[in-house]
Amino acid sequence: MNLDANIPEGPIEQKWTNAKFKYKLVNPANKRKYSVIVVGSGLAGAGAAATLGELGYNVKCFCYQDSPRRAHSIAAQGGINAAKNYQNDGDSIFRLFYDTVKGGDFRSREANVYRLAEVSNNIIDQCVAQGVPFAREYGGMLDNRSFGGAQVSRTFYARGQTGQQLLLGAYHSLSRQIGLGQVKMYNRHEMLDVVLIDGVAKGIITRNLVTGKIDRWAADAVVLATGGYSTVFFLSTNAAGCNVTAAWRAHRRGAGFANPCYTQIHPTCIPQEGEHQSKLTLMSESLRNDGRVWVPKSKDVAKKVRLGEMKPSDVAEEDRDYYLERKYPSFGNLAPRDISSRAAKEACDDGRGVAPTGFGVFLDFADAINRLGKHVIEERYGNLFDMYENITGVNAYEQPMQIYPAPHYTMGGLWVDYNLMTSIPGLFAAGECNFSDHGANRLGASALMQGLADGYFVVPYAVGNYLGSEVPIGKAGKIDINDPAFAEAEDAVRSKIDKMLSIKGHSSPRSIHIELGKIMINHCGMARDADGLKEAISMIRDLRQRFWKDLKLPGSSHELNIELERAGRVADHLEFAELMCYDALDRDESCGGHFRVEHQTEEGEATRDDENFSHVSVWEFKGLDQPPQKHAEPLVFDYVKPGVRSYK
C-alpha cells in the first residue's frame, strides 16, 4: 500500500500555496468533458459538488435522504472555528493549528491541519457571502463564543443551529448548480460499492431506495463524503441513517482505513433511559460556557438523588464535587471532550452517578442564572433547554440537566494523502469520512470547519489536479458501464442483497445492531483493555455468523424496504467493528479519545507512547475472518513539539 502523504515542499505556511501552484489545471472548455461523482451531501459533499459544478465539471451527487438538505451536518449545534481574531484576543492561523494538533493529542498530520487553519478564514467569508445568518453584535460585526480546548473566542455561530445554517448555505449553492444543470442530484440513492478499473476508481454502484433498482454510474473521479461511523455503537448522536457502508466498501476494494479506533465520546448528551431508545441526543458543548458539571462527593448522597429521595438543589455546596473545576482549574468546565467524558465515567464508575441508571452527572445552571438572570441564559441557550425538556420532560431552568457521554464523532476514517486522495487512485474522501485533521480527539466546532474546508477549498483543487495529470482529455468521460468491473461489482451487490433476503431466520436487523452496539460500547468505548478487545473480536465474529444464519427480513429487493436498507448497513458494521477492535488492540497506548486502561497516570490521565505509536495506523483488508494487515505512516512534528497535553 502506497502511503506517501505527498506533503508539498516548503515551510508549513507556504505548503498549500506551493501545492496549488504545482497543481495541474484543466482548461475551462475541457472541464465539462470530465465527470465527477460525489457521494453524500453534507458540508463536505454539498460543498464539493457545488464547487466542482461551478467550476464546470459534470457532477453527479448522491444521497440516501429525500433531499440533500437533510445530511447529518445539519444537526451540529454549537459553531464553527476560524482564526479571524475578530475578538483581538491573540488568535492566529498558527494558534488554531497549534490548538488543533494539541487537541488531537499529537496524532494528526501537521501539514493537513495547518491548511485547515489557513482556509478557515475563507470559510467564514464564503458563508457570509451566501447569506448564512451568523450571530452578530449590535455594531453589525460577527459575534464569537468559546469552545472547549481553546483559550480564545474563535467560534462563529448561528443560535444553536450552526450546522443547519452552514449546510443550508452549501445546499443553496448546490441547488443553484442543480438548477443550472451542472450537477445532477440523485436523492434516495445509496452507494453500495466502488468500481475499480485497473485499480483506479471509475464509478459506483447504487440502489434506488424507492424502486430497489441497482444502477451503475461511471466517472473520471469519485469523491466520498459519507460521514462517520458512530452508529457502530447503535446508540450515538448520529442520525438513524448514518452508516459506514460507503467507506467500508471502499476499504474492501483496497482503500486503507486509518485509525478506526479514534472515536469521540461527547461529554454532554442526554443519558440513556431505556431499551426502547434509538439514539442519544447531544446538548451543545457551548452549554459548558455557563453550566457547571458536578456529582455528589459521597456515594450515599448520590444514591439518594438517584432514588429521588433527595432533590439536587438540596445537596449542600460542600457536598458537591465540581470535578472538572477541581481537576483542570485553568480550563475548568471547558476541558476538551475526551478528558471531560472520561472524568464523567470515572465519577459514575465510582458510584456517584445521579441518573436513575447510575450513568449521569449534573450540568447545573443555577449559579449562572443567579449571576446573569434567567433571561440571559434563555437568550443564549433557550432552544437547547427546550430540546432537553422535549426529551426528558424536565425544566432545566429549575433542576440541573443530567448528562452523560455518548458516541458522537469519529476521527478515524479512510486514509488520504495531502490531496485527500485515498490509497485507491481517483477515489477521494472528504469531511468526517477521512482521517486527516483531528488526530485522536477533535476539538469542538472543528468538524464543520473541516467539512467545509475539504468541500469548498481542497477537493475542487485536488480533483482538478488529478484529472489534469492522470486522466488525458481524450479519455475524459469515456468510461463504459459495460466494463466487466461494473458487472462484477453489481453482481456482488446483488448477491449480498439476495443472500440477506434468503436467510429467513428469526433476528431482526435492529436487534442485531443493538447487540453489536453493546459489545462496542462495553469493550471499545470510553475505556478499553487488551482482554476486553480480544473478547469483543470473538463476540463480533459470532454475532456476524448469527447475522448470516438467522437474519429475518420482510419484503423483497424491488421495493422501498426499510429493513433491507438497515440490514445492509448492519452487515457492514459487523465487519467494520472487528477492524475497530483490532486497531484499538494494536494501539497499545492511550491518546485522545482512545483510552487503554493499561496506560494511564496515577491521576487517570492518558499516557501516550510516542516512541512506538507516533504514527497513523493504516489497515489493509485481507478478507473476512483474516486479520487485517497494518501499515504505518510515521508522523513528523516540525512545528508543534509533542508534549504532555495538560489542561490543568
Binding site: A50, E54, Q65, D66, S67, P68, R69, R70, H72, A75, N122, D125, Q126, C127, A129, Q130, G131, V132, P133, A135, R136, Y138, G140, L142, A158, R159, G163, Q164, Q165, Y171, H172, S175, I178, G179, N187, A240, G241, E273, G274, H276, S278, K279, T281, L282, D386, M387, N390, T392, G393, Y456, F457, P460, S508, R510, P554, G555, E559, L560, I562, E563
Partner: protein, 260 residues
Amino acid sequence: MSERNISITLKVWRQKDADSAGAFETYRMESVSTSSSFLEMLDLLNEQLIEEDKDPIAFDHDCREGICGMCSLVINGIPHGKNKLQTTCQLHMRSFRDGDTITIEPYRSKPFPVTRDLVVDRTPMDTIMQAGGYVTQRIGAAQDANALPISKELADKAMDAAACIGCGACVAVCPNASAMLFTSAKVSQLNMLPQGKPEKDRRALRMVGAMDAAGFGNCTNIGECEAACPKGISLDFIARMNRDYAVASVKQFLGMVGSV
C-alpha cells in the same frame, strides 16, 4: 423523568406504493414506555410486525432531534402531532394517555404523492429552491466577512426565516396545499440581507413561479401553516414575499428585471 407504560391502539395508513390504493390498518401496542419517542414507538411496532411476518411500516426519519426535517406524519389529523413547535421525532409518548387511539397518516397533498405507507415525495420543495433559493456568488471569491456589517436586528430576523427545516408540514396542513410559508421563509431570508439584494426581484419571481408550476395551491390567509410549523415560522414572511413579488412584477412589466 417518571416513566410509565401505556397501552395504545394505532390506526396506520398502509399503501404498498404510489400506484396502489391504501387503507388504514389497526394495531394494538401494549406497555409502551412514556419516555420513548413517537418514532421509537413505531420502531417497536415494526419489530412486532417483523416478528409476525408482516411488512413493517415505512416512514421517513433521520436525525431524530428535530432539525433535519425528514420526519413527517400526520398524527391525529395534525402534521407532527398536536404539540406546538415540535417535529414528530421530538414528540414523546408522555403526550398520550393509556388507552388512546392514535391515527397516523402520511402528508396528504397533491404535490407530495405517497411513495409508500407514510413516506411521501417532497422533491418539489427542492425544485423551488433550485429556481432561486440562493445568492449567486462564486465560491472562494468572497470579501472579508466583517466588511459587510449587518445589524443584529436584521441578522436575527433573517435567522428567524432561515430556521425553516423544509419538512413540508405547512403544505400538509394547508387546505390549499400551499407552499407559501416555506417559499416565503427562503425568499425572505435572502431578500432581506444585503447579500441577497441584487437578485431580489428575480428571486421572488422565479421561486413563486416554480412554486406555482409544481402544483402548490395559493394562500388564502388561513394561518394553519404557522400553527403547524415546528419552527414557528411567522406568517409575516408571506406578506413580505407578496410585497417583494408585487414590486418585482411591476418592475418586470416595466422591463426593469433581466431574464427570469
